[in-house]
């Protein structure tokens, strides 16, 4: 099933990029969340898939069974999910605050850091 998931990852990334190219800050953040999902899934898929064999060592054994899933990408993705969540939450709060200050969610109207007439 890996190739089918690879196509799904492509779709997620394409949608994410499309959303991130928007001038609407909220759409950009939606795209950002979507990109995280796509990237996590791609790491997971690249580590190869297995069905109904979670990486748990059976009671009494010392070594993981040969058919069990690859644990390393799972550990990496777990970290990535949590960090992505932290980043997204912070960005969302910033967006809210920015809207409050500037009264807009459009990035091309947010010109405080780089005003229109820079020398």
């Amino acid at each position: 099933m890996e190739p089918a998931l690879a196509i799904l990852v492509g779709i997620l990334v394409a949608v994410a990029v499309w959303l991130m190219l928007s001038r609407n800050f909220v759409r950009l953040l939606l795209g950002f969340a979507m990109l995280g999902n796509g990237v996590n899934l791609s790491i997971f898929v690249a580590g190869r898939l297995s069905r109904e064999a979670p990486p748990l060592v059976v009671e009494g054994e010392v070594v993981l069974g040969a058919a069990a899933a690859n644990a390393l990408p799972q550990a990496l993705v777990l970290t990535a999910i949590v960090i992505g969540f932290g980043l997204l939450s912070f960005a969302l709060v910033l967006a809210w605050k920015a809207h409050e200050r500037l009264g807009t969610v459009r990035t091309d109207e947010m010109r405080v850091a780089e005003p229109e007439r820079t020398p």
């Binding site: 899934l41 777990l78 939450s89 969302l92 820079t118």
Partner: protein, 781 residues
């Protein structure tokens, strides 16, 4: 030899403290440093052929070692750097008497001395380049030493930009050279001529190296910085801009002559550029009235002569080049110090205002006369010997044009020698001469010693020939050169030519006295359009280009930055990934219905998110995508991931909903996100690329070693049965700690932002209704 190179740097560090503590007496202590190094070089002269190499590892991974080589060429340069260095340090003590920043001056001067020694002693190309750039940098600091003057700052910047640009070319050229020659050591590359010159890298390497050398040694059309560098204090002009640093380019050409010389490209580029520079410098020298500028232009001319002499790669011309190098360093160092004396004691350097100085400054005059005799190439000076050798070299080349060029330049330099060295002392006493008096001994030692050396070597030329010139020429030629010098050969046509040159020079001098002012008037509008003006145009153009590209690239619009990032990523992936064989993985199993259903659902939800125009729909669809991914984790044996993803996705939806509720109505549609087709294109390309890459990765065999290691070690080493958890909290515990820190920081940041939002209420949400002034910060309470 590492110690030798590092000694001046140590002196540079100590100089400010010594000046602060000892005052100007510290100068005598300073002079001991180069004097000691000079003695070291003298003591090691015997080993100069075939040479000696010492290496200290530096960055072995980059094949950079601090290897130093002492042979005839580097010995000659070391003697010049340390010998003239000693005199210049003494001289500077007198010249800068009472200057408040004496410590800074000597610190930079010693740093330059160390860098210059590094250039001429380095055997490793990278070390040589580092020292080379250090000389440019210290030269910049010394030219701009009088940093209060705008002219000095401009001249310093110009020198730095021109030599710095050349330095970049040189770096590229040297890397190509090392690639083609198969070694980073100059001593190895010198032996690699046969296959080096057949290499396709030869031509680009040579052109780039020549650019580096020509900018450093002020060859046409990069010469404009050298006259400008006369803004530096005179000891600096004498040291850096006549005797040592400007010869670094000549040094490197001579050093690389065995490896790169002998080709037509070498012969013609050095020959033509050198000849142009030689003539141009001589002509401009006749058109100046500032004594230092006259000397600067003759330095340009002399550097042209040296490059010109290195062109044919034959023994007579190389020997002549080495002889002229020595002669020029001696007389030009002396003449610059003399110019400084006149400036210092008579208050002006303007030749039209200087005459009759002999009575007031007899010792200075004597030194100037000695140096001028050498410069003019009159008998009894070392210049005579060099001139004879140059004459021989020219005949050996047997090219009428070069002979003419060199003879014309010689005649002009003869005239300039009379102008700069003799004429200020004779004639009626000018106003300046009336109040002039002799310089202190520290400022006389330099010119007298250098001028005297020219005389001594002129009397016993065989001494200089055997100990200095022949070993240096041997190092350049790669075979042992011997040199028989006879002061007077035969009364042949060459001798007649020399006499004719003197006569022409003398006539030119007389003509200059009568018509010089008219020449200058005529030449001024032409000079105004020279490379110096070109430099200004280039600089202005560069600033305009920078402004333009900043406006284009840094538009200040986020969506353009995002688009640019994705386009760059796409281009780089396409350029690097799809080369040669690229296989794609195919479906190997049919899969279960539920798997296909979840995949389809997730894809559909993603597309709905993209198309959604209301916030509620968008957030719901995004949540669906997240849940779909969680289900995929579940289906493919990753329960830990699934649990985390469920939790996180729920939280994301909750937070999104909370925040979107607080934002007043706006539509989520893609209105105004033009150009829409471009965005669609970028998104499509990115998605396709990721899919293709992933399919490519899946087609490769999978390396299970890491997975197996964790599977085997989890229980015995980590004492845990859930391998994912063991990896997170045990094998990669630091990663997890970092992750927790990031999440905590994000939470604290978000909290801080929210609390400020609460304190600065908007729309009646906060406890009080006050609003901070426009653009102001919310006041903490």
């Amino acid at each position: 030899m590492l110690t030798v190179v590092l000694t001046p740097f140590a002196a540079a560090l100590a100089a400010p403290f010594l000046v602060a503590r000892l005052g100007e007496r510290a100068v005598f202590l300073f002079a001991l440093v180069p004097a000691g190094l000079f003695l070291w070089a003298l003591a090691n002269l015997g080993e100069a052929f075939p040479g000696r190499i010492e290496a200290t590892p530096w960055v072995p991974g980059l094949s950079a070692s601090l290897s130093f080589a002492l042979d005839g060429l580097s010995a000659l340069f070391t003697l010049l750097i340390t010998g003239i260095g000693t005199l210049v340090v003494l001289y500077a003590g007198g010249y800068l008497h009472g200057h408040p920043q004496l410590g800074r001056f000597f610190a930079i001067l010693f740093a330059f001395m160390g860098a210059m020694l590094g250039v001429v002693l380095s055997d490793n190309i990278l070390a040589l380049f580092v020292f080379w750039e250090l000389t440019s940098l210290t030269s910049y600091l010394l030219v701009g030493f009088e940093s209060g003057k705008a002219a000095a700052r401009r001249a310093a910047l110009q020198a730095l930009l021109i030599t710095g640009t050349g330095g970049l070319c040189l770096l590229a050229g040297l890397i190509l050279l090392a690639e083609a020659g198969g070694s980073w050591e100059l001593s190895d590359i010198a032996l690699a001529q046969s296959w080096l010159q057949d290499s396709p890298l030869y031509t680009p390497a040579l052109i780039l190296i020549l650019l580096g050398c020509f900018t450093k040694s002020a060859q046409f059309p990069f010469h404009s910085w050298l006259p400008g560098a006369m803004a530096a204090p005179t000891p600096v002009s004498a040291y850096l801009h006549s005797a040592t640093m400007v010869k670094a380019g000549v040094y490197l050409l001579a050093r690389l002559e065995p490896a790169l010389g002998g080709s037509e490209l070498w012969l013609y580029s050095l020959g033509i550029i050198g000849a142009i520079t030689m003539l141009l410098g001589a002509v401009f020298a006749l058109l100046e009235t500032d004594l230092k500028l006259v000397l600067a232009w003759t330095t340009v001319s002399a550097l042209g002569t040296l490059v010109f002499l290195l062109a044919p790669s034959q023994e007579p011309s190389v020997t002549a080049a080495m002889a002229f190098l020595l002669v020029h360093a001696l007389y030009k160092g002396a003449l610059f110090m003399v110019a400084g004396n006149i400036d210092h004691e008579a208050g002006t350097r303007d030749l039209t205002k200087l005459s009759g100085l002999m009575r007031a400054m007899p010792v200075t005059f004597a030194a100037a006369a000695l140096a001028s005799v050498s410069m003019a190439g009159l008998p009894a000076g070392l210049g005579w010997v060099a001139k004879e050798m140059i004459g021989t070299a020219k005949v050996a080349d047997n090219i009428g044009l070069t002979l003419t060029a060199a003879t014309v330049a010689n005649a002009m330099l003869f005239a300039v020698a009379a102008i700069a060295g003799i004429s200020p002392y004779f004639g009626a006493k000018s106003d300046a001469a009336a109040k002039a008096h002799e310089a202190p001994w520290t400022m006389l030692a330099g010119p007298v010693v250098l001028g005297g050396l020219g005389l001594i070597f002129g009397m016993v030329p065989q001494l200089a020939a055997d100990r200095l010139i022949a070993p240096a020429a041997s190092a350049v030629l790669g075979t042992k050169a011997t040199l028989e010098i006879t002061l007077f050969k035969a009364f042949d046509w060459k001798f007649m030519l020399t006499l004719a040159t003197f006569a022409a020079g003398a006539m030119l001098f007389i003509a200059w006295r009568r018509y010089g002012a008219a020449w200058r008037e005529r030449a001024d509008p032409i000079l105004a359009r020279g490379p110096d003006r070109g430099y200004d145009h280039v600089l202005a153009g560069l600033a305009a280009l920078a402004g333009w590209q900043t406006r284009i690239i840094q538009s200040g619009r986020l969506h353009r930055y995002v688009a640019a990032s994705f386009v760059v990523i796409a281009v780089m992936v396409i350029a690097s990934a799809f080369r040669g064989r690229f296989a794609l993985a195919g479906l190997t199993d049919t899969g279960r219905v539920i798997e296909w259903a979840v995949i389809a659902l997730t894809a559909a939800a993603a597309i709905v998110t993209a198309a959604a125009t209301t916030r509620l729909l968008a957030v719901t669809a995004l949540g669906m995508v997240g849940l779909g991914v969680a289900m995929l984790f579940m289906l493919f044996s990753a329960p830990d991931l699934a649990i985390t993803q469920f939790m996180v996705e729920t939280l994301v939806v909750v937070i999104l909903a909370l925040i979107l509720i607080r934002l007043p109505g706006f539509r989520l549609s893609a209105d105004g996100d033009g150009p829409r087709w471009l965005n669609l294109g970028i998104a499509g390309v990115m998605g396709t690329l990721v899919s293709l890459l992933l399919l490519g990765v899946l087609a490769e065999p999978f390396d299970m070693r890491l997975a197996e290691w964790f599977a085997a070690q989890s229980v015995p080493e980590g004492l845990g049965r859930n391998v994912v958890n063991v990896i997170l909290v045990d094998f990669r515990a630091l990663d997890t700690l970092g992750e927790i820190t990031v999440v905590a920081a994000a939470a604290m940041g978000a909290l801080a932002v929210m609390m400020r939002a609460a304190r600065k209420p908007d729309g009646g949400r906060g406890p009080d209704g006050g609003r901070a002034p426009d653009g102001g910060e919310g006041k903490g309470r």
